[in-house]
C-alpha cells in the first residue's frame, strides 16, 4: 500500500474507522422515516422497513461498509479488491452521499421545504457526509505523477479516484468460474429488473438509481472486479452467451404486468437492430445514417403480408414465410442502396445513407394512392396487424405457465429473443472469420486491404446487405409487436427509439465492434427517456449533450473493444519502453500493460 498524502490530512486508521462509522450511520438511518407524508414517491415514512430511494442509500451504504472492511485486509474479502482498495471506498461513499443528498433535496423541493424531512433523512445524510469526508482521508491507490508542477486540489481528487490496473487472476476450477459468471448475470438481471420496474411516474427513484448505479459501477471497475469478470467472460464465451440468454429469458417471468414487459420487448428490438448496425459500423467501419430504413422495409413487408385489413396486398403468409420475405426484401434494398453508395468513403457515405434513409420515409409517405400507387397507405400506415399464432399459441393472449403469467408483450419478447439470438450468432460468427477480419482490415486501411487481395467493394456490400437483412428480420417481428407501422416510426431522429440517430448512438455509447455494447447502449437509451418523462421536451437536447460528454470522456464507449481501449487511452498509460527514434511510436511498450 502506497502511503500517499491524502486529500484531507487524517491518519489512515482514523479515516478508515470514520468511513465505516459514517457508512453504518447512513445505513441505520434508512430504517428510520425520512419524511412524514407518503406523498413523496416510494413511501419513506415507515420505521424499520426501507422503501424507494432508501433502498438505494441502503445498498450504497452496505457496499461502502464492505469495501471499507476490505481495506483492513481481512482474509476472504481480498478477492473483492484486486485493483484499487481505497478509491472504490471513496466512490461508494460518493454514491451514498449522492443518493442521500439527492433524496433530501427532492423531498425538500417537492414537499416545499426542509421541514418535511424527518430525523432519518438527517441521520443518513450526516452519516453519508462523514463517510465521504473520511474516505477522502484514505491514502491514494496511485501515486501522483512525480514530475510536473504540484497538483492542485482537483487533480489530487481525480488522482485519488484512480486505481492500478489488475494483474492476472489465479485460475479457479472451471465450475467455479462458470458459477461466478452465472452469479454476475443473476445480479445483472436483478439490477435490470429493478430498474425497469421503477414506476414510470416515480422519476425521482430512477434518477437516484442512475446516481447509485453509476458510482457503484465505477467503484467496482476501480476495485478491479469488472476486469476480473470480463476476463472470465472472455475465457468462457459460450458459457457467457448462454448465461446471458438464460438471464434474458427469465426476464418476462419476473414481471406481473404487461407494461414493463413491453418496454423489455422494445429494448430488445432496439438492441437487436443496433447489433445489426454494429456489423456495418463497428466491424466494416461504414457510417450508415439511414439504417432504420431497413427496419422499416422489414416491418412494412411483414405488415403487407400479415393479412392486415388495410394491407394493399391482402395475403396472409405464415410467420416463417413472412420473416423470410421481410429479410429478403431488406436484403434486396440493402444491395440496391449499397451498390451505388459504397463506392464512396467516409463522410460522403454518411451523407448519402442519410439521404436514402429519408427517401424511404418520404416514399412510404407518398405511396398512399394519391401521390403514388397505393401500397403503404401513406402517413396512416398499416394499422391493426393481426397477432401471430405460432405452434398453436396465440401471441395476443396471456398464457399461464405454472405460477407465472405471460402477457402479450411477454410472448413477443420471447419470440424476439430468438431473433436476437440469431443476430448475436451472426455477429459473432461472421466477425470471427475470414470475412470479419477482412471487414476490420477495410475499416483500418482500405488501400492496404485491397493490396492484400481483399475485394473491398464486394465485402463492404456484403456487410451492408447483411446489416440490412438483420434489421429486416427484426422489423418483421416489430410490426406485430407494435400493431401498426407508420412512416414516422422510421425517421432519422425522433423522440422514440429506434431511429437512425439513436441506433448509431446506442452502438457508439455501448462500444463499437463489441457484442454486449449495443445491448447496454440500447437499454440505457430506451430506459432513460421512458422513465424520465418530465424531460420529454428536452430529450434530444439532453441526448446531444450526453453524447458530447461521452465523446470527451470515454470515446471508446461504455464497453471498450480491447483495440479501441488501447487506441484512445494510450497516452494515459505508462510508457515502459520509450522509442527515441520514432516519437509517434512511443506507445511500443504498453501492450502488456493495457492488454
Amino acid at each position: 500500500m502506497t502511503t500517499q498524502k491524502a486529500l484531507i490530512p487524517l491518519p489512515a486508521p482514523i479515516a478508515r474507522i470514520a468511513t465505516a462509522t459514517g457508512a453504518a450511520v447512513a445505513l441505520a438511518g434508512t430504517f428510520l422515516p425520512w419524511t412524514w407524508t407518503s406523498e413523496f414517491p416510494g413511501d419513506l415514512t415507515v420505521t424499520g422497513y426501507p422503501g424507494g430511494l432508501q433502498i438505494l442509500t441502503l445498498t450504497a451504504a452496505i457496499l461502502t461498509l464492505l469495501f471499507t472492511l476490505c481495506g483492513y485486509g481481512i482474509r476472504g474479502l481480498r478477492w473483492l479488491t484486486p485493483g484499487g482498495t481505497n478509491s472504490p471506498v471513496r466512490l461508494l461513499a460518493l454514491a451514498t452521499l449522492g443518493t442521500t443528498g439527492y433524496t433530501i433535496g427532492a423531498i425538500a423541493y417537492e414537499l416545499g421545504g426542509v421541514v418535511n424531512l424527518e430525523p432519518g433523512a438527517w441521520v443518513s445524510g450526516i452519516g453519508a457526509l462523514i463517510a465521504f469526508l473520511a474516505a477522502l482521508g484514505l491514502p491514494s491507490d496511485e501515486p501522483l505523477p512525480a514530475d510536473g508542477p504540484p497538483a492542485n486540489a482537483w487533480q489530487r481528487f481525480r488522482n485519488s479516484l484512480a486505481a492500478p490496473s489488475v494483474g492476472r487472476a489465479k485460475p479457479l476450477p472451471g465450475w467455479g468460474e462458470i458459477l461466478i459468471i452465472t452469479a454476475a448475470f443473476a445480479v445483472a438481471l436483478y439490477v435490470f429488473t429493478y430498474c425497469i420496474d421503477i414506476p414510470t411516474e416515480e422519476s425521482e427513484q430512477f434518477i437516484g438509481f442512475l446516481i447509485t448505479a453509476g458510482f457503484t459501477f465505477t467503484a467496482l471497475t476501480r476495485a478491479g472486479i469488472i476486469a476480473r469478470i470480463t476476463a472470465l467472460t472472455t475465457k468462457h464465451r459460450n458459457v457467457t452467451l448462454i448465461a446471458a440468454l438464460v438471464a434474458a429469458f427469465c426476464f418476462p417471468f419476473t414481471q406481473d404486468t404487461a407494461e414493463f414487459t413491453l418496454i423489455g420487448a422494445n429494448i430488445l428490438i432496439f438492441a437487436t437492430v443496433a447489433l445489426g448496425l454494429n456489423v456495418v459500423v463497428g466491424l466494416a467501419g461504414l457510417l450508415d445514417l439511414g439504417y432504420v430504413a431497413f427496419l422499416g422495409v422489414g416491418a412494412y413487408t411483414a405488415a403487407l403480408v400479415s393479412g392486415a385489413p388495410l394491407s394493399a396486398i391482402g395475403v396472409q403468409f405464415p410467420f416463417w414465410a413472412a420473416v423470410l420475405t421481410g429479410a429478403a426484401v431488406s436484403l434486396i434494398f440493402g444491395v440496391l442502396i449499397g451498390a451505388p453508395t459504397l463506392r464512396l468513403r467516409g463522410d460522403y457515405l454518411a451523407i448519402v445513407t442519410l439521404g436514402f434513409g429519408e427517401i424511404f420515409r418520404v416514399t412510404v409517405n407518398n405511396l398512399n394512392g394519391n401521390s403514388g400507387p397505393d401500397l403503404t397507405n401513406g402517413s396512416q400506415g398499416i394499422p391493426s396487424i393481426p397477432d401471430l399464432n405460432l405452434f398453436g399459441i396465440d401471441f395476443g393472449l396471456s398464457h399461464d405457465i405454472g405460477p407465472f403469467t405471460l402477457s402479450r408483450p411477454a410472448n413477443y419478447y420471447l419470440l424476439l429473443l430468438v431473433v436476437t439470438a440469431v443476430v448475436v450468432l451472426v455477429f459473432r460468427r461472421s466477425g470471427d472469420s475470414r470475412i470479419g477480419r477482412a471487414w476490420v482490415a477495410i475499416r483500418e486501411d482500405e488501400t492496404a486491404a485491397t493490396a492484400m487481395g481483399i475485394n473491398a467493394f464486394r465485402l463492404k456490400l456484403l456487410a451492408f446487405a447483411l446489416g440490412a437483412t438483420l434489421a429486416g428480420l427484426a422489423g418483421t417481428v416489430q410490426s406485430h409487436v407494435s400493431y401498426t407501422v407508420t412512416p414516422e416510426q422510421y425517421q432519422f431522429a425522433g423522440p422514440v427509439p429506434p431511429n437512425s440517430a439513436f441506433l448509431l448512438a446506442a452502438v457508439i455509447l455501448g462500444g463499437m465492434g463489441t457484442l454486449s455494447g449495443p445491448f447496454i447502449g440500447a437499454a440505457l437509451l430506451y430506459l432513460i427517456p421512458a422513465k424520465l418523462q418530465f424531460m420529454q421536451d428536452y430529450q434530444l437536447l439532453l441526448f446531444g449533450i450526453a453524447l458530447i460528454l461521452l465523446m470527451r470522456f470515454r470515446p471508446e464507449g461504455l464497453i471498450a473493444d480491447r483495440r479501441k481501449q488501447l487506441e484512445f487511452h494510450e497516452n494515459d498509460e505508462p510508457v515502459l519502453v520509450p522509442e527515441p527514434r520514432q516519437p509517434e511510436e512511443a506507445d511500443a511498450g504498453i501492450t502488456k500493460a493495457g492488454a
Binding site: L425, V426, R429, S430, D432, S433, R434, I435, G436, R437, A438, V440, A441, E444, D445, T447, A448, A449, T450, A451, M452, G453, I454, N455, A456, L462, L466, R563, K564, L566, E567, V577, E579, R581, Q582, E585, D587, A588, G589, I590, T591, A595
Partner: protein, 302 residues
C-alpha cells in the same frame, strides 16, 4: 563491396512490364519503362526522390491504371485491380507502413491469407465442415510466417504497438501470407539502423531462397547493390540504365542524377584549391571554426 548473391540461371520471366507510362494530367510520372523480373531474382529499383519509383510500383500492383503499356505476370496480363493482382501472385509492402494498426500481429498475417482461402459468409455462419479446417490451416501458415520473421512471440500484440523494425517485418510477413510469386518491397529499410538493415537483407535472401522473386525500391545504396542481382535506375520517370551493381554504380548518368554534374569549365582541382584558400583565410582572419564554412562550400558544389 562484394555481391554475395548467387545468380540462378532460370529463364522464366515472372514479371514483364513493357512500355509502362503513367500520366497525371500534364505530368508524366513514369515514361515508357520496361522491366522484367525473372524467377529467383532480386531486382533493385533506385532513383532520386520523385523519380517515379512508387508510382511505377502502384502501376504494377493495380493501384493505378497505367496510361499506356502493359504489365504481365507469368505470361498473363494483369487486371488493373489491386485485389486481383494480389490474387494473381504479386504481393507488396508500402513505403509508409500500412499495417492494420488495431489488429493483432497474427490477424494482420491472417488478412494476408485472404486470397488463398475461400470460406465465405455462409461457411462462417453455419460453421460448415470446411470452415474449421481452413481456419486452422490459415492459423498454422500464419504462425509459420511469424516464426520465419521472428515475431511468433508477439502474435497477440497489436500491430501498432510493435517497434518500428518489427512493423516493417510484419508487413513483409503479411505480404508473404498471400503466397506470392513476386514480392514488391517499397523501401523496406527506411528508417532502420545498420543492424536492422542487415537483418532485413538476410530476410530478403531467405525469401528469395524460397523461390520468390523480389523487386526492391531502396535508397540505401550499400544495401541495394549488395542485395540485387540486377539494378534499374529510374530518373524523372525514365529508366536510365539497368544491369549488375557494377554497371549501374559506374554509370555516369546515374552519378549525375544523384550528385549533379560538375560545373562547366571549372576543373575540380582548381575549385578545391580555391576552397582551401578561402578556408585558410577565414581561419586566419576571424579565428572561427572553419567547419561551418567547409560544409556550406561543399553543399554549394554539390
Amino acid at each position: 563491396m562484394t555481391t554475395m548473391t548467387t545468380t540462378t540461371n532460370t529463364t522464366t520471366t515472372v514479371l514483364d512490364a513493357s512500355g509502362v507510362t503513367m500520366r497525371f494530367g500534364g505530368l508524366t510520372a513514369v515514361r515508357n519503362v520496361d522491366l522484367t523480373v525473372n524467377a529467383g531474382e532480386i531486382v533493385g529499383l533506385i532513383g532520386p526522390n520523385g523519380a517515379g519509383k512508387t508510382t511505377f510500383f502502384n502501376c504494377l500492383t493495380g493501384l493505378y491504371v497505367p496510361t499506356e503499356g502493359k504489365v504481365s505476370y507469368k505470361g498473363t496480363v494483369l487486371p488493373p485491380k489491386p485485389h486481383l493482382v494480389t490474387k494473381a501472385g504479386i504481393a507488396r509492402t508500402f513505403q509508409n507502413i500500412r499495417l492494420f494498426a488495431n489488429m493483432t500481429v497474427l490477424e494482420n498475417v491472417l488478412v494476408g491469407r485472404h486470397t488463398r482461402t475461400k470460406e465465405g459468409l455462409w461457411s462462417a455462419l453455419l460453421r460448415l465442415p470446411g470452415f474449421t479446417k481452413a481456419e486452422q490451416a490459415s492459423h498454422e501458415r500464419a504462425m509459420e510466417l511469424l516464426e520465419f520473421i521472428g515475431l511468433q512471440d508477439k502474435a497477440d500484440h497489436l500491430a501498432r504497438n510493435l517497434p518500428y523494425g518489427d512493423q516493417r517485418k510484419l508487413e513483409i510477413a503479411r505480404a508473404l501470407a498471400s503466397d506470392p510469386g513476386l514480392l514488391l518491397l517499397d523501401e523496406p529499410t527506411a528508417g532502420m539502423n545498420p543492424q536492422e538493415t542487415r537483418v532485413t537483407e538476410e530476410l530478403i535472401f531467405a525469401i528469395r531462397d524460397q523461390g520468390i522473386a523480389v523487386l526492391v525500391i531502396e535508397h540505401d545504396m550499400r544495401f541495394i547493390f549488395n542485395l540485387s542481382d540486377r539494378v534499374a535506375c529510374l530518373v524523372q520517370g525514365e529508366k536510365l540504365v539497368e544491369g549488375t551493381a557494377e554497371v549501374v554504380q559506374s554509370d555516369e548518368r546515374v552519378i549525375a542524377a544523384y550528385l549533379g554534374t560538375p560545373f562547366e569549365g571549372a576543373p575540380g582541382a582548381e575549385e578545391v584549391a580555391e576552397v582551401e584558400a578561402a578556408e585558410a583565410e577565414a581561419v586566419a582572419s576571424t579565428g572561427t571554426s572553419p567547419k561551418d564554412t567547409t560544409t556550406t562550400e561543399e553543399e554549394d558544389t554539390r
